[in-house]
């Protein structure tokens, strides 16, 4: 092959190149279709997607039957104030495994998404029960519970909880029905007092723990627990924990 012929084929190649690039690039199939543009995680506004990605790992696929307290619980949703939902998701519960989700606290969600989640919990999981006769979500816990309060708590525990949790919270013997020990300081240090109160009020319907009023398994003369009685029970648990408020885990979410 001579140089001249090589040169000629080179010219043809150049022409081809110009043709392909010449103006029509914008119509090429490789141009990404705006419809398939992926959503940034910060642009995601669908409650279900947000919940599935951020919350279901602990709170369960449908907001229940997870290791953390269920959020898909009509009674809980009926009594929990909106500000609490917003605040807990934003800042987490320090010292517990509930992480802070706000981006500014090294979480993964924007303020808007947290808003969507907080509102979505109530609209999506629908609090069917009016919380009318239930004790309020927040109670009062003195930082130094008195001996009398703890004694009252012990009596209440015996009538309302001991059947499943054992006389002093050590758990009952039967593996299948036993919810295990609840008097372990390590265990209690990973619960906020607020969560303890809430679980006494709502129970864990998904796992068979009765709420503040249900009688199953309890003494026949059991009366629904009042707000003050629940305070007494939380005081007892805090006493078992050895600290009035839960300790901070050294890796707990920031404040």
């Amino acid at each position: 092959m001579t140089s001249a012929r090589l040169l000629e084929s080179w010219r043809v190649a150049g022409l081809l190149f110009l043709l392909t690039t010449g103006g029509c690039l914008d119509q090429m199939p490789g141009k990404p279709n705006p419809a398939s543009r992926p959503k940034l995680p910060s642009e995601q506004t669908d409650f279900q997607v947000l919940f599935a990605r951020s919350c279901s790992g602990c709170h369960g696929a449908d907001g229940k039957l997870g290791p953390a307290p269920p959020l898909n619980d009509p009674l809980f949703l009926a009594i929990v104030p909106d500000e609490v939902l917003l605040d807990v998701i934003t800042r987490g519960r320090r010292g517990t495994p509930m992480p802070a989700f706000d981006r500014r606290l090294s979480g993964t969600l924007t303020a808007e998404q947290i808003q969507i989640l907080a509102e979505g919990l109530k609209t999506h999981f629908k609090p069917t029960l009016a919380g009318g006769d239930a004790p309020p979500y927040t109670g009062e816990l003195s930082t130094q519970p008195s001996a009398e309060q703890i004694a009252r708590g012990e009596k209440l525990f015996a009538s309302a909880c001991a059947a499943c949790h054992g006389d002093s919270g050590q758990g009952s013997g039967d593996e299948d029905t036993a919810p295990g020990r609840v008097n372990d300081p390590a265990l209690l240090s990973l619960f906020s007092n607020q969560a303890l109160r809430r679980i006494i009020i709502t129970g864990r319907p998904d796992l068979g723990m009765p709420n503040f009023a249900e009688t199953d398994g309890r003494d026949s003369d059991f009366k629904p627990l009042t707000s003050e009685e629940i305070d007494d029970l939380v005081a007892l648990l805090a006493h078992w924990r050895g600290r009035p408020q839960q300790v901070a885990s050294n890796m707990g979410p920031g404040e």
Partner: protein, 509 residues
């Protein structure tokens, strides 16, 4: 005008003195045999060079828009893809020309090897060429990370565990590479620097040496069966053949140019038709369905990792690549004399076939392999309901801790979750309480596989976590260790954090 220009040129050259060098380069003689159709075998090196130029140009273009920060990298790529005029094309071109460069370099190396071009006196040219291959792969690797999507996480995870296994200095290397012990924003900045400064610098430096060596040692003539490379006579014969040689700037140049132009056209068409690669899903580390894959030049290693027993991992990830690189460097020293024609070198031809078949099969398997480290944030996968239902309160809290500490990123429960470590669904039957405490606190001894959580987990969290792990066993199966109470039980109690001492054993079944 022309005279004036020439004057300026002469003035400059009097000081710079490159005219001779250029003339020498362009007109250096090459063996006349290259004018035969055999000459078409010699075009791949310059095609690689053309791709490199294309990469530099498109790379500069991309760097004008790309933001190398963790919170904006992804968005700037979306901006290029969807908003900036022809930004998508630039990205596609950069990706496919990069791929083309890897392909061309490999083809070039294979051609040189098959035709014995690496033999005396061109051993050093070959070795520098191997360095260039490593640079090109390094560019590919660091480039993939700049995309900052789930695939990038994969790359970083591997780079991290690769570096972490280097004896003694491993942790420090990880730190230098990632800018931290874990994958995060710092890593992106580091890899950006690698991709645009460090590796290209090295690449251009070694490329200059490579080209200089090509000029100095000359282009090898096409091999002729029976013509044997002998150190005693080769130089004289070669010099003799160059006396009848032809200048490079002639057929050879136009051939190179033609093939390069064709290669560019092919890449442009592919880029225009297939469009930019990724970014795939957003860089949301909690994505449930993320199925990260490394880029194609590394898929074979990925497949090898996922198909091999875990014990072989350190070998594959650290020793094996070093071995491969070592062998490549050794090639011209193992055989630098004798026949050059492939028809007389069956072993060489067979090894090439073998290597490419293996790489091909492994690459194919790499597309489906399950090896997947996920590195950050809370996994979206729920704890299996069956486990939750039979859990005690401490175990429930332990389950939350398990999710909170991201154990799930590496460990599956009931088959769902990361695959980096073993599935833990029945770990309670395998390990005792104290063994579990050891495992979580110390991680894998020597680092690299499982991080040590000792300093990142409070005693309370550890205690609950271990309660949870002990409970992970199929119904009716005893916990490890409990069936045979003996000396180990005493040790167990001793390993127990003190506050739990007064309590009955967690789960005395």
């Amino acid at each position: 005008m022309n005279a004036r220009l020439r004057q300026i040129g002469t003035w400059i050259d009097r000081r710079l003195g490159v005219r001779d060098l250029l003339a020498h380069t362009v007109l250096h003689p090459i063996p006349r045999e290259l004018e035969s159709p055999m000459g078409w075998w010699y075009v791949f090196g310059s095609a690689s060079l053309t791709f490199l130029l294309l990469q530099i140009l498109s790379g500069v273009g991309l760097a004008l828009v790309y933001v190398p920060s963790a919170d904006q990298a992804y968005e700037s790529l979306l901006y290029l893809d969807y908003e900036h005029p022809l930004g998508w094309f630039l990205r596609a071109l950069h990706y496919y020309a990069g791929s083309g460069m890897v392909v061309m370099v490999l083809v070039h190396m294979t051609q040189v090897f098959l035709q014995g071009g690496h033999k005396y006196p061109r051993e050093l040219t070959w070795c520098v060429g191997v360095v260039l291959l490593l640079c090109v792969l390094g560019m590919f690797f660091s480039g993939q990370i700049l995309r900052w999507d789930p695939d990038a996480y994969w790359g970083l995870a591997v780079a991290g565990s690769m570096a972490g296994r280097v004896p003694i200095i491993g942790p420090d290397v990880v730190h230098v590479l990632l800018g931290a012990e874990t994958i995060g924003a710092a890593a992106l900045s580091r890899f950006f620097a690698l991709h645009v400064f460090v590796i290209p610098g090295a690449l251009l430096f070694f490329l200059a040496i490579h080209l200089w060596l090509v000029l100095r040692c000359g282009v090898s003539a096409p091999p002729v069966p029976g013509q044997i490379v002998d150190r005693a006579t080769y130089d004289r014969d070669y010099a003799e053949s160059l006396k009848r040689g032809v200048p490079f700037f002639g057929d050879a140049f136009w051939r190179d140019a033609l093939v390069s132009a064709l290669a560019v056209i092919v890449v442009v068409v592919i880029a225009a038709v297939l469009g930019p690669k990724g970014p795939t899903d957003p860089p949301d580390p909690t994505l449930g369905g993320a199925n990260p894959r490394p880029e194609w030049p590394f898929l074979w290693l990925f497949a090898l990792l996922s198909l091999s027993p875990r014990e072989a991992e350190t070998f594959i990830i650290l020793v094996f690549p070093l071995l491969v690189i070592g062998v490549m460097f050794a090639v011209p020293f193992i055989s630098n004399r004798g026949e050059r024609a492939p028809s007389r070198r069956p072993v060489a031809v067979l090894s090439v076939i073998l290597i490419y078949t293996t790489l091909g099969v492994l690459t194919y398997l790499g597309f489906t392999a399950p090896w997947s480290p996920r590195m950050e944030a809370w996994t979206a996968d729920p704890v299996p309901v069956e486990i939750v239902k039979r859990s005690t309160v401490p175990q429930l809290v332990g389950g939350s801790v398990f999710q909170y500490k991201n154990c799930r990123n590496c460990h599956a429960l009931d088959g769902v979750g990361g695959r980096r470590g073993p599935d833990l669904t029945s770990v309670g039957t395998r390990l005792t309480r104290d063994q579990l405490i050891m495992q979580v606190s110390n991680g894998t001894p020597g680092g690299g596989l499982m991080p040590a959580y000792g300093k990142q987990i409070s005693p309370a969290e550890l205690s609950m976590l271990v309660d949870f792990l002990v409970s992970l066993r199929p119904e009716g199966q005893p916990a490890a260790g409990w069936a045979t109470p003996g000396p180990s039980l005493g040790a167990q109690q001793a390993a127990e954090p003190t506050y739990a001492k007064q309590l009955p054993p967690p789960d005395a079944s």
